[in-house]
Symmetry: C2
Subunit: 208 residues, 2 copies
DNA sequence: TAACAAATGTGAAAGAAATAACAATAAAAT
DNA sequence: ATTTTATTGTTATTTCTTTCACATTTGTTA
């Protein structure tokens, strides 16, 4: 099965999130233009993405919501799911831990780490916090493949290399330090100041 | 002066952030391929972005770091700067407030808001927290043009419409609720689950 | 001083992503 | 039963972004 473009993966993730809300509201079918409106994109874009999934609508009713969620899952998720650790239980790490825990059955947050001995044993969203010195051990025993890095700048590189040494395969970096990873590790970096500066730039431009 | 592509704006923000670190280390000049390596992109990409700024290097020495920071600033920042508010002082909002405060002289975090009366008067990074009921008043008096939304899902829409009513021109939305804004307001949405799902997808793909 | 080397700046080409255009389909309206 | 309408799926086109390729520049080396 072909690898989807990164942009499509992002949108599929968004579709699923919105669709899950719609299921709550007992919506059974949705038209491409409705889903598009929610995400501020075009209907063609939605249809094209779904085309890549080989997913079809029911005539004049739209796309069946539950079924679509299922198909997106088949494409995005790993069959047996993946285990995730969050490293750094400051404000950001704590926010992420409580938001992500239990959110996606196939992306299980199974361990938290912090350097502070006092946080050892603490539970956030039912997930246990370990001391960073236990990282290697826990990552292996819990078969963790993805690490979310939310530590202070100063320890970012050290934590990343520990993660890599422990055999992690994907890193989501929220620190402001650029990381280096070997080619078999997937790295995604996100920086909040960049988002804010982008908003600032386009606000400035709009004024003219 | 022409509007830069969104992608270029993002990279310029990144360049500046890295360059600011380099200044600390007393680096005076940098080659395109060095800057590229830090950001995991190509040297051509860097040169092309800088070309859009009309910025030139010094032969055989590379780009002068301080001067480049200045030129990026001239292009990205507003001359008089912009004032920013963060709404929602949970873990995420608190993390953002302490990270962003004082980080960019032209992007001043000047007010925080929360619905919790107990947080009123609280200071994070020297910035005062107000009750949400004061939003309209404070936004106007402090001439705030950008709002960062980090409230719980349930109040996201209400907060956004209050912001818009108060005359805000840009919104950075960290909630998981899609917002609707009029065309004169710039909206940027960021969702952490999407980043994580993207990592998960490409980790899965790498395994094969 | 001639050949070389290290980088740059940029036109042209390639690649990726988004949009337009439209035939196809089947329900609903006349 | 014909026409109209709503919507899709997909091909073609356009636009946006990145990469290639190379002439250019000037310091360095032989």
């Amino acid at each position: 099965m072909d690898t989807l473009p990164g942009k499509t993966v992002e949108r599929l993730s968004q579709y699923r999130r919105r669709l899950l809300n719609l299921v709550e509201e007992n919506v059974e079918y949705i038209f491409s233009h409705e889903l598009a409106a929610i995400l501020h994109i075009t209907a063609v874009q939605v249809r094209r993405d779904l085309m890549l999934l080989g997913f079809s609508s029911v005539y004049r009713k739209g796309y069946p919501v539950k079924k679509l969620i299922e198909v997106i899952g088949q494409r995005l998720d790993s069959e047996s799911g993946q285990n995730v650790a969050i490293i750094g239980m400051g404000n950001l790490g704590t926010a992420l831990a409580s938001y992500l825990t239990g959110l996606r059955p196939k992306l299980r947050i199974v361990a938290l780490f912090d350097i502070d001995e006092n946080k050892k044993g603490l539970k956030i969203g039912g997930v246990k916090c370990y001391h960073v010195s236990e990282m290697g051990k826990v990552i292996k025993s819990k078969k963790i493949s993805i690490g979310v890095v939310t530590v202070p700048q100063t320890s970012a590189k050290k934590v990343a290399s520990q993660l890599i040494k422990s055999g992690i395969k994907g890193i989501l970096n929220f620190t402001h330090i650029p990381l280096e990873v070997p080619s078999d590790v997937y790295l995604e970096e996100y920086d909040m100041i960049t988002s804010l500066e982008k908003v600032a730039y386009f606000v400035k431009k709009k004024k003219k």
